[in-house]
Assembly symmetry: C2
Homo-oligomer: 318 residues x 2
């Protein structure tokens, strides 16, 4: 399987290199090491939940693999801001819990009605609708517990700002608002502004919360927070454009979900509005803008992980 | 309609008096004035939500009336702890949002499948299942936004503890955990311990969060927080016993929901396990224990609202 998005020569279409921008930074090693840290911490995060059937449903989706891009973005932003990423780990897990919750609820029969997610039956297919709804609710509230009660050594003022970012990203001003507009637009002709609105809310808001909360935990100054907002907007939209492109060009095997579903549902996508080539160009321009925003903070290679992550997002093939 | 639960002579079976314990405190006036304050604040709380259809679904259930006991408990606990209840209002609204979210999700076809709530069609009956699930999600996240971003003048440390209490009360250790066990027990023989587990989680946890968060905002000492935990446990269980009793004795007209549903669904209730009379006695003993816990803090009539609220809960007829 080749990458759906061709990037500039030297950049890693298969995710095995870090791109020319990252210099001597070993991005694949960083990505894998950080993903493993996140995976281990996620494994340990859902100990005490009761009853067991609820914990099992929560774990089924939370531990279903995936690239863990959101937690990694949070940890990388914390490091860029000069913080100790270990202090940001509980928040990083919280972000993955919120992401997982949104996947579980979006997959429900009343919503996108998906049977497959990451190559496995969706949560409600295994545990039933009631348990899936409740497992989502429990993951969402657990996310706030991670920040408020399981983040030692971080000042309360900073954690409270993180709670604020998480609440905005996961509610009406973020995930939920985007999903509502998305559902309302199904089967309708949608213009580019509306499509962007959907993606900035459905995907962009949580990615923004990832980098902002990581930076907030490190006590980042306003200038860096502003740059990270620009960065998140760029990679958020690019991420979604790539998703649309992959849905057209990749098979279900590679995606681990039902491919071509957007076309079947007569859903508006970037390729449909702009064509494949212009969609690719737009994604690349957004990634370039995202990276440019971080340049003033890129001394001593501190921005290397976030810069490489921006490239990685456009080079992924699933 | 007479009250389903008879209490000691002089206590207000119809909610028009405050009981002997409250002395000269005018409880009905307090209750109505505070309810109106909460109602006005709730009305103003959901301004900026987008899209409009989502805000409408959120408002439909949030502004459906009700006694607003949870916000009032929060404000009253703040006052008992010597705080300014105005500072606790955003948290009081947050608690009502969480309560409303749990009602919306519990009413869904996949869960309790209820058509009526507070005398009106349930949220999913009006807006469809997808919107109802998402309106619930948005109310839950909005609750955390209220505490983290809309509670000026309260120290971050105290607000963070409130976030912690809210997260525990609304997730697996509270509402969600209780609902899961409740659903799993449907149609089964349930013992008293399990029934109590369900109610302590489904109802008790949020009531505890109400009084604890109000007191936390006022900077209450540990001794008072401990007393409020005992108080909340007592009124929480009593509240649920009364609910079970009302389901047996009252009509749908008075309840504003489908009466006798618990019996139809072959659900275990207190009257079923203990009989009506012992259920009533147990509720009264719980209320007495709840009130006794507050005695050490009842100087200068400061506990009058919470003491009267404990009586009110056992004297309500709907």
């Amino acid at each position: 399987m080749t990458a759906a998005v061709s990037t500039t020569p030297g950049s890693p279409a298969d995710g095995t290199g870090a791109g020319p921008e990252a210099g001597s930074f070993d991005f694949p090693a960083y990505l894998e090491a950080t993903r493993l840290q996140v995976e281990t911490a996620l494994e340990a995060s859902l100990g005490p939940e009761r009853p067991e059937s609820l914990r099992e449903a929560m774990r089924y989706s939370l531990l279903a693999g995936g690239k863990r891009l959101r937690p990694i973005l949070c940890l990388a932003a914390c490091e860029l801001a000069g913080g100790d990423s270990a202090l940001a780990m509980p928040t990083a897990l919280a972000l993955e819990m919120i992401h997982t919750m949104s996947l579980i609820h979006d997959d429900l029969p009343a919503m996108d009605d998906d049977d497959l997610r990451r190559g496995r039956p969706t949560n409600h297919k295994v545990y039933g609708e009631a348990k899936a709804i409740l497992a989502g609710d429990a993951l969402l509230t657990r996310a706030f517990e991670m920040v408020a009660l399981r983040s030692p050594q971080v000042p309360a003022e900073q954690l409270l700002r993180v709670v604020g970012e998480l609440s905005l990203a996961s509610g009406a001003p973020g995930l939920v608002g985007g999903q509502v507009v998305d559902l309302e637009c199904e089967g309708k002709d949608v213009d580019l502004d509306t499509l962007e609105y959907i993606h900035l809310h459905k995907t962009g808001a949580l990615l923004r919360a990832c980098v902002l909360s990581g930076a907030l935990i490190a006590g980042a100054p306003a200038a860096l927070l502003g740059a990270l907002r620009t960065y998140a907007r760029g990679i958020g939209l690019a991420f979604q454009i790539i998703d649309d492109i992959l849905d057209v060009t990749a098979s279900s095997d590679v995606l681990g979900k039902t491919a071509g579903k957007d076309l079947t549902a007569d859903k508006t996508t970037y390729p449909k509005l702009l064509g494949l080539e212009e969609s690719r160009q737009r994604a690349e321009a957004l990634v370039a803008a995202a990276k440019a925003a971080l340049e003033p903070f890129a001394a001593e290679g501190k921005a290397a992980p976030l810069l490489a992550l921006a490239d990685y997002i456009t080079s992924r093939d699933r």
